[in-house]
Symmetry: C2
Subunit: 297 residues, 2 copies
């Protein structure tokens, strides 16, 4: 196992502990709802957003424990969005990461409510967790950024654009706009709000990290589309080719595989270039950026 | 029109302006999502929670403008919960306030996303609106209370309990627990977080207002159940007797109509007694409490 893989595994472990501690136990009333929330939030996954948070913290000399609650909140938001996206009224997916989706393991109503409650819990964590910051103004700034990133101008808006565009052909600008909303906004929020926690971060560093996150987020999505065409069904945990089969708007459908790969590569180069002034402490951000376009699932 | 009705109408007007200003226009991309959010949030209704907020503000000498954003945020959360509750996977209602429910006017997927985005917008407003407070610590306290009140230990939890209990008979304690979660927590949050905005509010006043809100919230629900048995279909904007027909757990089903009415009356007496020390400035809270059990729709 490479040192990057070791680092990622230890971050994932720390994140799962952080989430598990903050989620009500499945024994707590109302039990079924809490079980569904735990099922949705603790089902593995790549933990890409939390890894970005821990890597950004390392680049800014913040101890990991400082951003555990931020990582947990962002992952809970991501988990809620997947639960709702998978619903029959939305993407109607039966499998997520090789396991039954939340509404399959429970039921549609419970999945809707589990998603709703996970969103609320994320804001509860951001507003209440002591280790995040001593400064309420920083806390407010973090909540403002995240609430903006996941609303109608961000993640929820992106999902709406995605649904509306099914069966229609998007051009390159429209496809990019969809992804900037749907996944880009939360990925950027993960990195930028981590920077908010560092007391002596400069404006230039915030902007460099934001640019990094913007590029990495888009590359992540392009590579996801590429994997969906070429990937290994078992590693992906879902049906390969599903996006193409449903005539979805993807980068390979619009640009072809080779051009899509090369777009992702340039975005990662651009992302890494923006880390220049952070020096060697940005090591995990560099490694994470490379991982984005080398992963096979 | 009584002076209370005039006051309530002017509060409602102010609230609708406050909400309308804070919601993206229906022309803004993604349009359909924004149209659904506006449809759900600006469809009239009793505005009970905002009226409680404005009445509490009056009792504590806070100008109405100070709590416009709080009233808007709480009403957006209430609106999101109705949109999700009405979905086919949940209560499956076609009508809300005499108009097609959000998923009927749009579609299920858009209704799910509109609800999600309304929740996020509420937190955006609470974290960003300048008039609410100058003190970020107060802002954080408000967000903490509200995020707690609407999660799995509050509103979303209550809806889960409601769904699970359908077809089962709840006893009095279980029925009360359901309502304390489902509607009580947000009603209490509306009143208590308004108190947080008043710089010189005492702990005793906060507790008195919390007790007031707790009693009024439960009376509101009991009276709702009573109206559902006896009310006028047109005024209610939904099918009378629907709760009984579906064998739902309601106060009249458990206690009979007359006992339910008298329980609501005692709760309102109890609520009003707790306002004693606030004196004449609590006038609108008293009037609102009486309105709760005298309204016919």
């Amino acid at each position: 196992m490479s040192s990057f893989e070791q680092w990622a595994q230890s971050c994932s472990q720390q994140l799962e502990n952080a989430i598990s501690k903050r989620l009500p136990s499945g024994e707590q009333f109302p039990q079924r709802l809490h079980q569904a929330m735990r099922y949705a939030a603790l089902n593995g996954g790549k933990h890409f957003r939390p890894l970005l948070i821990y890597a950004t913290a390392a680049a800014l000399d913040l101890p990991r424990e400082r951003v555990d609650s931020l990582a947990a909140a962002i992952e809970l938001i991501h988990a809620y969005s997947l639960v709702h996206d998978d619903l029959p009224a939305m993407d109607d997916d039966d499998l997520r990461r090789g396991k039954p989706t939340c509404h399959k393991a429970f039921d549609d109503a419970t999945a809707i409510l589990a998603g709703d409650a996970l969103q609320a819990l994320a804001f509860r964590i951001l507003s209440a967790d002591d280790a995040l910051t001593d400064d309420p103004a920083v806390r407010v700034r973090i909540i403002r950024h995240i609430s903006d990133a996941i609303g109608s101008h961000g993640m929820a808006g992106g999902q709406a654009i995605d649904l509306e565009s099914e069966g229609k052909s998007l051009n390159a600008a429209e496809l990019e706009a969809m992804h900037i909303h749907k996944t880009g906004a939360l990925i950027r929020a993960a990195v930028v709000t981590t920077a908010y926690c560092a007391p002596d971060v400069t404006r230039a560093q915030e902007e460099a990290l934001d640019h990094f996150a913007k590029c990495v987020g888009l590359a992540f999505q392009i590579h996801d589309d590429v994997l969906d065409e070429t990937g290994d069904a078992e590693e992906m945990g879902k049906t390969v080719g599903a996006d193409r089969a449903r005539d979805k708007n993807t980068y390979p459908n619009l640009f072809g595989l080779s051009e899509s790969r090369s777009m992702a590569r340039s975005l990662i180069d651009d992302a890494r270039a923006s880390l220049h002034d952070l020096g060697a402490k940005a090591e995990y951000l560099h490694l994470l950026a490379e991982f984005v376009i080398s992963r096979r699932g």
